[in-house]
Subunit: 292 residues, 3 copies
């Protein structure tokens, strides 16, 4: 595997291999690669958990991490992303992790550089390492995807996570449903009533309301959104005994999910973050081990 | 010690132990901890010397330092400090150094995370590693605190340093006096005339006029402030033979202190910066050694 | 050599020694210095390639690199560059790489600090490591400078590179000509017609149009500038068989140079970037090896 750009690109077999390597890293520790491999994290949008998670994974792998401040780079002088990437290639990097606001930014790049590209989120497109860590967290819990009922609830149309996860989960045998305000469904077929699905779901995967991506004024107050489309305490009480709650975070507390549920027994929200480091290490290992 | 939050929290015995370890590090070099310990520096306010000083101390200790850009983090998407901290805990960090504009920000955090927190300044509250390095610099000079006359002069009410230092110095047996414009004294009992104290002081500790924290327009020009409340060349000439000048920096040259005094013989201003690295190494060592 | 501030400062012999060490590093790998040497990169202007290039060189040398965010430092509280440098000296750094908007910022610093200073660009002044990598790229190509015809074309007056390169190339025996719009020539003697020179040049060194440094509105559209003063496809066709194209980048595609020429056979643009890492390693090695 040279790049990881989209969940559409990778096969079920490749997914399983990455999840297996992740399990091994989580059990036995992350295996070192070489300090002669240099990578950089190019985040053109703010991020705490994804960026820090990659940074941690890279250091556990023993890589050389070259800092890059997108907000203080030649991009400000009008340099294209292509020229930035070719520059980093010439400087001697082996791989770049990129988050960029433009959907599919990587399409114009990936065949024109010898650098490996790991997509850490493209606009409203894909966020494959988030999908993989979600898959890992589900498999860790249930041992399988076959026949699992997964509900993805929230800002479906603006979500990189919804797209990536739905595709992968369907491939792997799960049944995915979407829940959101009718006017937010976009290309997705979605329901808008929790009563229809809360009792049957094994996994309730909430999405962040992305205030910053809604062009018009939000049509819901936080209270109203929570009441209609959030995971309330009442809804959580109807969930199956072993069902779990997931959220890619950051969470809008009291909007997508009741504040008191974030660290409840069913919640795997911080477990997802923990698993993220191992997933990213496994992805980087898989890609970079082939370069040595 | 799990955290270092405030000078109020630590005992005289703990202070002495940290100062002793600092002496040892300064004499024999900083002892390495393990690269398996990961820390991050979360500075939500601009800083050069404190942040760089911690970075240097962390590297001399051999720690893994995970970068964090506060100005480009999920805080911009409305994430709370609590959620940021829980995220970093899940990612596998061991400790965080935090500077934050909110007084006592750590009170809502420290019992809810397994991370160690080192407070690098909270609003107008505490700045314990600055206090410790000030104490170290004084002890290095005089060998004791007992009976020393310490004058803290300047923007007393807005100063984290004034609070932390006064408490600690009093505990350790020094006599602390404050000097400032009467309307800036806040909760402190302060004099406003240098003539009363300049000849008796062993330590003159100047504070920065914090233009950025004065809500109303400053009521003094730089020249007028210097003339009335700054350490002028004339006042310095009246100081005791072995008395020293300290300032936590950054300095407003010609305001708190005459420009030509900043690097004069009595000045320990850059010595304080040098000692800061050893103090921070000793604090991190004390806290993290216990975690291994 | 304690500092590298300007091409005016270094002798022909020193240039040759640095180029020779660069050749050796490129052939045999970059030799490690010690992790006990700590450096920091102080970029007060945006940069991708120069900053990343220094970061990479520093890590290949095995140095400790202390991060510094100019946009989030005490400079915002009005601290002078001198005080920042003295602080970093006290913290224990050995060298700083500085890019700063003020011409000759280093003149007030270099004799007042024990830190080594490597100038990575001062306003419209000098950018000596860029000059050295340009020289290295030319020598790598032609084996000599003697009698080479070098054309420097573009925003001559605002260019750090033009100044540094012209001085050095003349010293080393090359014939340098300038080409630019007549009103942009500043102190330089320049032609403004490609026909006079394109056929005789061994090296065509293009400069970026620095939109951000032109005070008044640019008097040329991109198309018009390209037509009159850019390296068009037609002009490239008239170049000598073995002549090469250089550009310090970032490139304004279609302005200084036709888009399709950037990665053409004659272009050494990304080769320059690659060589930059070796040059910076050689400069740092030369300066820091002397400090051990």
């Amino acid at each position: 595997m040279k790049n990881l750009l989209s969940m559409k690109q990778i096969t079920e077999k490749e997914i399983t291999e990455i999840l297996d390597l992740t399990s091994q890293f989580k059990k036995d520790g992350i295996q070192k690669l070489s300090q002669n491999i240099a990578v950089s994290n190019l985040f053109f949008e703010p991020s705490t958990r994804t960026k820090t998670s990659f940074e941690m994974a890279e250091r556990k792998l023993g890589l050389e991490v070259i800092p890059f401040e997108a907000g203080f780079s030649s991009t400000l002088k009008g340099e294209t992303l292509y020229d930035t990437i070719k520059t980093l290639e010439a400087i001697g990097l082996d791989a770049v992790v990129i988050r960029h606001p433009e959907d599919g930014y990587y399409e114009q790049l990936c065949d024109r550089t010898s650098l490996s590209i790991i997509n850490a989120g493209d606009g409203s497109g894909q966020h494959p390492t988030q999908s993989l860590l979600d898959l890992f967290t589900i498999r860790e819990e249930f041992g399988t995807f076959q026949g699992l009922n997964v509900l993805i609830a929230g800002d479906v149309d603006h979500s990189r996570v919804a797209r990536s996860n739905a595709e992968a989960l369907n491939k792997l045998g799960a049944n995915v449903k979407f829940l959101c305000p009718p006017e937010w469904a976009g290309e997705f077929e979605a329901i808008s009533n929790w009563d229809d699905v809360v009792e049957e779901s094994d996994v309730v995967m909430l999405l962040r309301v992305q205030h910053e991506r809604h062009d018009s004024k939000a049509t819901y107050t936080s209270e109203r959104y929570h009441e209609l489309y959030g995971l309330t305490i009442e809804r959580e009480a109807k969930m199956k005994k072993d069902a779990i709650i997931m959220h890619p975070a950051p969470v809008n507390r009291g909007v997508e999910i009741a504040d008191s549920l974030i660290e409840c027994n069913r919640s795997r929200i911080f477990k997802q973050v923990e698993n993220g480091v191992y997933i990213r290490a496994a992805v980087l290992y898989t890609i970079l081990n082939g370069r040595l």
